[in-house]
């Protein structure tokens, strides 16, 4: 009799667990990753440059956002000054003086990367849904010179125009294009969420927004220096 009850409870539990949808699985993963990130923040106070690069590029830490719209994927990467120094130095250890000097050099601006990728990752982005050679030339020209005017950063009530813009042109067939963006930093820059706004005229996707939360922007761990 007892055996039947135990068997019944076991099977019922098993079925109930199987009934949970896949989103719970994803939540579980996020929870696991959150714990991992928590360890970086709390248990280890400082991280080495390579870990810093991985940390910033990890979408779960909120500094890298992705948006899929139809056949395109838009990526926005917020680049903290320390991250830029780590990328430029390409060393496993950075001297304290070097880090401080370079961060100071960058401190007047705030930097982002914008990447537009073809969802199927095949073909050339600039030639996507292209009608003529003339249209291709116009796209190259727009990406190189005029797109800057269609990019803004909103911080609280301030709308900041894009003052540094560079289109990383790949001359081979690539399914993506990358843009390096810079915006002037104000004294209240760190007190607000930041919303990067791009108006996509080329592929008719309209206003593309990425919001970086104030809390997420402030949680970058400190870099271990020598």
């Amino acid at each position: 009799m007892k055996l039947i009850y135990i068997l019944f409870i076991f099977i019922a539990t098993l079925l109930a667990a199987a009934c949970n949808d896949s989103s719970n699985g994803i939540d579980a993963n996020i929870a696991l990753n959150g714990k991992f990130e928590g360890n970086i923040n709390s248990d280890v106070e400082k991280i080495n440059p390579e870990t810093c690069i991985r940390w910033v590029q990890n979408p779960e830490n909120g500094l890298r956002k992705e948006k899929i719209i139809d056949d395109l994927v838009f990526h926005a990467q917020y680049k903290p000054h320390e991250y830029i120094v780590c990328l430029e130095e390409r060393k496993s250890e950075i001297a304290d003086s070097v880090l401080a000097k370079k961060v100071n050099e960058l401190s007047d601006m705030q930097y982002f990367d914008l990447k537009i990728v073809l969802k199927n990752e095949q073909g050339e982005l600039l030639k996507h849904n292209l009608n003529s050679q003339d249209q291709y030339d116009k796209r190259v020209n727009y990406f190189s010179f005029n797109m800057q005017q269609d990019i803004q950063l909103v911080e609280g009530n301030d709308t900041i125009p894009c003052s540094l813009f560079h289109f990383e042109r790949a001359y081979d067939v690539t399914p993506f294009s990358t843009f390096l963006l810079g915006f002037e930093k104000s004294s209240s820059s760190n007190q607000h969420d930041k919303t990067l706004i791009v108006y996509d005229k080329t592929f008719n996707k309209g206003l593309i927004k990425f919001t970086f939360k104030k809390e997420e922007l402030q949680k970058l761990p400190k870099i271990k220096t020598i």
């Binding site: 009799m1 079925l15 989103s23 899929i68 919303t195 008719n204 309209g206 206003l207």
Partner: protein
Amino acid sequence: MSKTITLLFSAILLGLLALVIYQMKTTPKTGYVVIQDLYNGFEMKKEMEKKYKTTKDARDKILDSLSFELKTIANQIQLEEEKNKETIKQFEIKREEYFLRKQTFEEDNEILTKQYDQEILTQLNQYVKDYSLANNYSYVYGSDGSGALMYGDEKNNITKEVVVFINSKYNGL
């Protein structure tokens, strides 16, 4: 005897439980949205409307200014006892410019409306798809009063939830 009944009862209960779970898993989850409410609640639509109005207002100002100039010249011609050929020529040039600009602006406004509509719909469709996938919906119907959806139980109306979701997605949160 008692043991057999308990065993039988447990087996039936287990079978029923399995059936309910199977039904839950295999029945497609459906919901519907009131398209007009969804569209009007979409922040991108409101922002694009403002953007369009700014452009249209700027164009209207140019037309108003041209129209004012045209009226001034027309008054001048009317007041002249001897009609000045130069003024009449100037009036005709201005009038032609006005009608040409008006036509161009009307066409451009129409193109802009279509372009903005397409941009809004592209993002709206994507975010509704994202919502459906995130919430395991097999079907989300659109109620627009055209008869495509004749009736939907109010408990399956997910418009409010979808509006919140699509605005969050649009703002890149």
